[in-house]
């Protein structure tokens, strides 16, 4: 990309955003002082330029953090991403396709077009069960007999997904839910027995 982004006077907000995204990409890739001067000139041309650039830069950094938190099977939590283009935020920086799309049309799609499936918040298996158990059981029983089972199940599940073993991951989730039951029953029965015998 040899020419600097041009902003036409009275340009629309979408065009300013596109230019800001382009500047963001260029400044990340090059540490040229001349480029920095050009960027300052662009910022000085219109007060909205710097504002839009800073907003996109913050979103970009937030996107890096989100990328580390996203599920390993590649699904995207649209609620976490807000209205930003997920390719711009979550596209891997080393992925040439994502990079190319950012350079050519960085904000061509500013309107969110996530499907219903992507909009659904992605929860690890056992999250709801943990919430229910934490509500129903005492803190000690939950911490000793329920939380470790669910935590290990979630870790195994993520490992299976990372290895691409989707069916095994589902099996781990089902087995984990069934494993919680004996611990739960044991804790309740032993508690009742101790109460009965006054121990």
């Amino acid at each position: 990309m040899s020419s600097s982004p041009v902003t036409i006077p009275g340009a629309s907000y979408a065009r300013i955003r596109a230019s800001a995204a382009e500047w963001l990409t260029r400044l990340e890739e090059q540490a040229d002082p001349n480029l920095r001067d050009e960027f300052e000139q662009w910022c000085a041309a219109d007060a909205r330029h710097r504002a839009e650039f800073l907003r996109l830069q913050a979103a970009w950094r937030q996107g890096d953090r989100l990328a580390r938190l996203r599920p390993l099977d590649g699904r995207v939590d649209a609620d976490l991403l807000g209205v930003f283009n997920k390719d711009l935020l979550l596209g891997c920086r080393n992925d040439p396709r994502a990079k190319k799309s950012r350079q050519l049309a960085p904000t061509a799609n500013t309107k969110p077009r996530e499907t219903e499936r992507e909009k659904k918040i992605v929860l690890l298996p056992g999250t709801r069960l943990a919430a229910i158990a934490e509500f129903l059981l005492t803190r000690a029983i939950f911490r000793r007999y329920v939380r470790p089972i669910i935590a290990d199940m979630q870790d195994e599940y993520v490992e299976c997904i990372a290895r691409g073993e989707r069916w095994r991951a589902h099996w781990v989730a089902v087995r984990g839910h069934f494993l919680v039951v004996p611990g739960w029953v044991y804790a309740l029965v032993s508690r009742a027995v101790r109460k009965f015998f006054g121990a």
């Binding site: 056992g126 993520v158 611990g183």
Partner: protein, 99 residues
Amino acid sequence: VPNPFSARTELLILSLLQNESADTYALALVKAAGGKLKRGTIYITLGRLEEKNLIEVVAVPHFRHTGLPRSQYRLTGLGRRVLAAADLTGLPTARGLAP
């Protein structure tokens, strides 16, 4: 009245936990026991050991995902003394399990 069957399992877990350099998550203990511990019962036994103050639990948060923190188990001073006493009296522990 102490249950002799559960006491054997408890001693096995205590002796596995004695090796502090090893991974001390519940599933790692199941693997280390070589089939003598079952996935379905180890959590109950570990919970019971914690109730008896023979082990302590440290919640280790994940860095790869947002799941619940995993529980890592460690021997307490009392647990070490119980294990030493079991060794002296010749009760079965995990000796011979390690490769």
